[in-house]
Symmetry: C2
Subunit: 193 residues, 2 copies
Amino acid sequence: MFEILHKKVNETITITDEEFAYAKTLFVPKKLRKKRFLLEDGEVCMYTTFVEKGLLRSFTIDDKGNEHILQFGMQGWWVGDLYSFLTGEASEYNIEALEDSELLLITKPSWNLLLDEVPAFERYFRILIQNNLIATQRRLMCTISATAEERYSKLLKDFPDISQRVPQHMIASYIGVTRETLSRLRSQMISGN
Amino acid sequence: MFEILHKKVNETITITDEEFAYAKTLFVPKKLRKKRFLLEDGEVCMYTTFVEKGLLRSFTIDDKGNEHILQFGMQGWWVGDLYSFLTGEASEYNIEALEDSELLLITKPSWNLLLDEVPAFERYFRILIQNNLIATQRRLMCTISATAEERYSKLLKDFPDISQRVPQHMIASYIGVTRETLSRLRSQMISGN
DNA sequence: CGCCGAGTTGAACTGAATCAAGAAACGTGG
DNA sequence: CCACGTTTCTTGATTCAGTTCAACTCGGCG
């Protein structure tokens, strides 16, 4: 159950087996079936979550009922609403399993314990968040400056398997267009390339 | 010269005077005049930089010659291209002073030293980057889902003084519209509100 | 078998970009 | 202190990318 987390952590920092064994005691394993929710908007996000297996999405729903996807959480990634987790305020995000998933949850008290007791984990999370920030900044700049087609091409390049694993309308709400527009883009790209 | 940094660090973590005194030895103070560049695209970002005083912008220029602003760096903020700084690859960003500024630069070796020698700084940067990630995610979701007018209103709410300090066309390239569109938006908002 | 969600396609519409021109504000040098 | 060019901002006309609304197809599943 902890294989992927162990692998990911070891790729980033050096820790002893004892330290990782200690970390293991702080996580709660959880299986989540497809279409089930890890978090619904209005709730407080009580956990930050590592995806051992499966696929999730975190998204908001606007006043017109449209969904906007912040993130797909695949194997080896973390999901959760950081702001709600840290402040205890209600979340505006929903987190839903797109495939049957195996998760490792950690509560805020346990997380704080982990950071205090094992400084290497402080570094692990710093680097993790750092990489996430870089990726999010890239996506933001792309969203500001590129056309729908460019954003779609970039997504396919960054996550080649995503279009097989998730429905097209979710890809549309990730890149910030309607499903109709994405559909037209795809047919153009097939005929024109 | 280190007042603001000291204040900001103390707001986030607890460190001893010796630790901060040590940190001070690792920074290089630098004054940067208005319109001068701290980083130009194509260069490697050699420093991550704290703004003691003044105002900077980091931005890219696309193939059509349009500017896209990632960030305004004001007093108490950090600026730099994290990706280039960490990997040593050429940066795509430009960083320019919008006002005469006083900066504290730290090189990668010094930064690593700081993180290794003073674990509290590892935490400081983790929290700093965490907050930055939350803000960037918010801005991304806003860019995906909101209209130009909503994004402009949000900017004014988040940074009330920005529209006095920077030219309108830069605000336009921050929210991802042309200066003409922003100009029309502003005249609408004045007449209609 | 019938229904429902997912995807496609068409037509009309709209928010924002582009192109173009002029007005106002600014800094710099004489 | 004024004259100059430069940058910034505005306004209008036109174009275009992407939305909206609507109808239809396809595949899966109860």
